[in-house]
């Protein structure tokens, strides 16, 4: 398995994976910070490196609609977007999922307007968390690339057949150039293989209808079947990761546990700030602090049991949210993690911290402070405010 060390941004890494996959149809509409993905890809099209039908459409609603149409026709299709573009796709995201079409979306996470902001924040993809899409989040460029290579094998599995969102953090991952490892073209090509739909609209030998009206006699069974496919995705994500390890040597799960074996204080986080947190852990472990991290790779399906099991034995936990949900009760990662902890009888004192909103910087010292706060909470034996902000200018800050 020949490998190549390269310097690449997250966007170029994902675009490179797409070149190696050589998908059938790529409808695209540009939006910062995802624009580079279709931009790099259009070069591959112009230079004859791929056979893909590249369609420049007039909006994100159209790019997703075209991907859905192409997928229903029997093609392997995908698009890319961020922020407002993802919001504009909202209606058709659910269509892709409920029609059970294995479309892929390269999502580069950026704050939703408003106020207008182009920086890293998870409010776009968290807004789409209940659309029926699988969501995998990357910590860095390498993971964004690896997740993209694995995407279609998960989505197109016959037990799954659901669309998949490959999420990376805007600018922090998408634009920062990192040292990483590429697989060679042939290895990726053989790993991903060809998409063969069992039923598709361009089949001359079979008539086929996609998207018929489902009255209340049918809708509920259809939704349950879709939810079941998402449950199946859990095992398929693990199976595909195992196959991927054979060609890459890199291991992936639904979550990643870092220094969790004897951890008393843990952070639960998604995306690039996991790397920052690992640095904080390394520093604090050197001083004997029993700190650890649970990084969520798969947010949909949500590995609630796995997260809660990893957190069992912790004295205090901070669940980090990079998007404000305005529930007045915390963010989406906090809500779902705490629900899972409750169900699994994991009784660690737990807080939910809003951080990095709209691209607010997250430093190693910030994450060390989080662990210091957790030590404090454990010492006092009470959580205090469960719903908190980090890095906020606040006149009432304690």
């Amino acid at each position: 398995m020949p490998k190549k060390r390269v310097l690449m941004s997250g966007n170029e890494a994902v675009a490179t994976a797409l070149r190696q996959i050589n998908p059938d149809v790529f409808p695209a509409f540009p939006i910062t910070p995802s624009t580079e993905i279709p931009q790099y890809f259009s070069n591959y099209v112009s230079n004859g490196l791929v056979d893909t039908e590249f369609i420049t459409v007039e909006s994100e609603h159209s790019s997703m609609s075209a991907a859905i149409g192409a997928s229903a026709a029997g093609a392997r299709a995908l698009t890319a977007t961020s922020s407002a573009g993802l919001a504009f796709m909202w209606e058709v995201l659910g269509v892709a999922a409920s029609h059970r079409l294995p479309v892929a979306l390269c999502a580069v996470c950026r704050a939703l307007t408003g106020p207008l902001n182009i920086n890293c924040d998870h409010s776009d993809t968290m807004g789409a968390k209940d659309s029926g899409w699988i969501q995998l989040y990357a910590e860095n460029n390498q993971e964004a690339y690896d997740n993209m290579v694995m995407a279609f094998n998960i989505a197109e599995n016959k037990d799954v057949m659901l669309p998949i969102m490959i999420c990376q953090d805007g600018f922090i991952t998408s634009h920062a150039v990192n040292n990483m490892e590429l697989l060679d073209d042939l290895t990726v090509k053989e790993f991903v293989g060809e998409y063969e739909a069992d039923h598709y609209l361009l089949n001359p030998d079979e008539t086929f209808a996609v998207g018929p009206y489902a009255v209340s006699d049918y809708y509920m069974e259809s939704r349950k079947a879709q939810a079941h496919a998402m449950e199946n995705a859990k095992q398929v994500i693990l199976d595909v990761a195992k196959d991927f390890e054979k060609i890459s040597g890199r291991k992936y799960g639904l979550i990643e546990e870092y220094q969790m074996e004897d951890a008393e204080y843990a952070v639960v986080i998604i995306g690039s700030a996991a790397g920052t947190t690992k640095d904080a852990i390394d520093k604090m472990r050197a001083n004997g602090d029993k700190v650890g991290l649970v990084k969520i790779r798969s947010f949909r399906p949500f590995p609630g049991k796995e997260i809660a099991t990893a957190l069992k034995g912790c004295k205090a936990v901070a669940v980090m949210d990079r998007s404000e949900s305005f529930s007045t009760n915390g963010g989406p990662v906090g809500a779902e993690t705490m629900q899972a902890m409750y169900s699994e009888k994991c009784d660690a004192l737990t807080i939910n911290i809003m951080y990095g909103i709209g691209g607010r910087d997250v430093r190693v010292e910030d994450m060390m402070n989080v662990y210091e706060t957790l030590k404090d909470i454990a010492a006092k034996g009470e959580t205090g405010d469960v719903y908190r902000y980090m890095g906020l200018r606040d006149k009432e800050a304690k």
């Binding site: 059970r100 079409l101 008539t207 209808a209 998207g211 069974e221 259809s222 079947a225 079941h228």
Partner: protein
């Protein structure tokens, strides 16, 4: 229905057996979907007044007025939704709406 999986979308089919994404293999399957019970009124033909002009046929949005050998056949009450457009279109007053 030969070569179709439409039976997997019946009212007695459990979620485990419904077609993936409610898709349907096979064509012409809508005729198996009875919608006539959506209405409590429906047109009734006065055969003596009907001149077989067929003007009611093309205006029916549900293709519920069949034609055979250039003759209007009995209204298909399994698919007539009772919109009453045929009654308006009839120049001879041969159609009128009645409560079912």
């Amino acid at each position: 229905m030969a070569n179709s999986d439409i039976t997997k979308l019946g009212q007695d089919v459990a979620w485990q057996d419904v077609t993936r994404g409610n898709t349907i293999v096979g064509c012409g399957t809508t005729k198996h979907f009875v919608t006539g019970d959506w209405t409590n009124v429906a047109p009734v033909v006065d055969e003596e007044k009907c001149k077989q002009c067929l003007l009611c046929v093309p205006v029916c949005p549900d293709s519920a007025i069949p034609v055979k050998d250039y003759k209007r056949q009995a209204i298909d009450y399994d698919h007539c939704k009772g919109c009453g457009i045929c009654v308006k279109a009839c120049p001879f007053g041969a159609l009128k709406m009645e409560v079912k």
